[in-house]
Symmetry: C2
Subunit: 294 residues, 2 copies
């Protein structure tokens, strides 16, 4: 096209995709161009604003390293991650809903026995979790692999401590024949997402706080069921109405019950108060595998 204007440029860019041999890439690029141009056109972005955008994206990429993923944080704080999760994890009524994965999962966390204390010394008030893993018909799911991870009472995940490689307040457990999973951990608290990078500046300039409400992460894998990636949120705690990454779903809120004294439901006494959480996870059956033709 030889006479590009603000009116024909979107068609010109999409026209250059005519030779794209991957139909899905062609579809994605076409829609990307359409919507990005729509943004620039509707915002009537000035050249100085465009340059600010370029500098912001560049700084966001340059903030990333092996331990920090600022583009995922940007996606999270703009609701793009949760939108993608919601689009791809529609569940039937009764199945536990999904939420964002977050950046703090670690592959290869220690596999611990049911009843273990997974805190490994992470600071926090004792929490006793008694969960079940079931199918939609109520059948117990045995031998489900349950990944658990969470922040400590200072609001930090183990991997955020630069001077330590110790894994704390995370574990992998397996459900028993009755679908039960139980372990001791610590009470989760609200924490801010990292604010020392471009995303922190964006939140601050936009008048937004950086806080996530208190939650424990779960990823549950079991043969014949869809993998469930979710949180359990602490009902009644701050920021449930304004999670900076938009991960809250009412069905994922639960009571973390305080006990001023007494015997915990399993394991040795704590010598003081503790919390308990009961939660039932309901897994959606996996789509049936395609039979291969012989």
């Amino acid at each position: 096209m030889r006479n590009i204007t603000e009116h024909n440029i979107t068609a010109a860019v999409i026209g250059q995709l005519a030779q794209c041999e991957n139909p899905r890439l062609k579809e994605i690029m076409t829609l990307l161009v359409k919507h990005v141009h729509g943004f620039v056109r509707e915002a009537r972005l000035t050249e100085a604003e465009w340059m600010q955008g370029i500098e912001f994206l560049t700084a966001t990429g340059q903030m990333c390293d092996g331990k920090r993923q600022e583009f995922i944080l940007l996606s999270d704080t703009l609701g793009v991650s949760m939108l993608t999760v919601a689009l791809n994890n529609a569940k039937p009524p009764g199945a536990t809903e999904s939420t964002v994965f977050g950046p703090f999962h670690v592959r290869g966390a220690p596999e611990l026995a049911l009843g273990a204390d997974i805190s490994a010394g992470a600071p926090g008030e004792p929490l006793f979790v008694q969960a079940t893993v079931k199918g939609l018909d109520g059948e117990p799911v045995a031998n489900a692999l349950v990944d658990v991870w969470q922040a400590d009472e200072d609001g930090f995940y183990d991997v955020q401590y630069k001077d330590s490689d110790q894994l704390r307040a995370r574990a992998v457990l397996r459900s028993d024949a009755q679908g039960r999973v139980y372990f001791r951990s610590i009470l989760p608290v609200a924490y801010p997402v990292p604010t020392d990078g471009p995303v922190g500046q964006m939140l601050s300039a936009s008048g937004r706080h950086p806080w996530r409400p208190a939650h424990v992460h779960f990823m549950i894998q079991a043969l014949g069921y869809e993998t469930l990636i979710t949180h359990v949120f602490r009902d009644g705690a701050p920021y449930l109405d304004s999670d900076v990454v938009f991960g809250v779903r009412s069905s994922l809120m639960a009571q973390f019950v305080h006990h001023a004294s007494g015997r915990p439901p399993f394991g040795p006494a704590t010598g003081g108060g503790f919390y308990t959480l009961d939660f039932d996870f309901v897994l959606n059956p996996a789509a049936p595998a395609r039979r291969e033709l012989p």
Copy 2:
């Protein structure tokens, strides 16, 4: 908001901008969220595709350094740069149109006398440029500062040679009392944008070539006129119909006339063939300056 779904999340994200004190930032963020969500929703991006997007943006940021700006290249190749230029530089009929600035301008290029050879030894066939700078009414614009820069016959700008800091085929000239600007340079040729980064991979995967049609860059600044950032394209040369950065406008195409022998229009003989280019730049008056209240 406590029960985020794919249907209410866009409103939830925009709702978190309620406390943004900068009205323009609030407007831009609102439109950004609306259009980015619109893209994810219409494309029904899978979680694996989302992750590919995160990795692409991260690699694009990490390709940037003092000499390379891969996000500008991404913006250029998606037509976003040219759209921004077109939106912000509407010109009245008769005024020379703008096009993309590109990444190869250098501040502080040498100011040379009219008639000088600006190539400074850059390889290429001799080109004699005779231009005028005028206003919309045809009045000559004297003392206009005219920045010129271009690639050599190998398709490289001087700043792309990693082993040399020499500035070649670029200069600043000043128009004379009749608005004339003339200099010797070299014939521009088509060249590919850098393809050794994520944008090169994107072009290749999309079935797009990386070429720009032959052109000379101009930036013209004069008191009382809007600064003009543009190119003059070589009419009849390849890629005018498929410029990878969508910068071509018919009004900016001109004949680069070949002379097999003879005397050039100014300066010493070349001892062989040469090209000539005549072009009239017409500047748009600047918006009148606001009178300050006393």
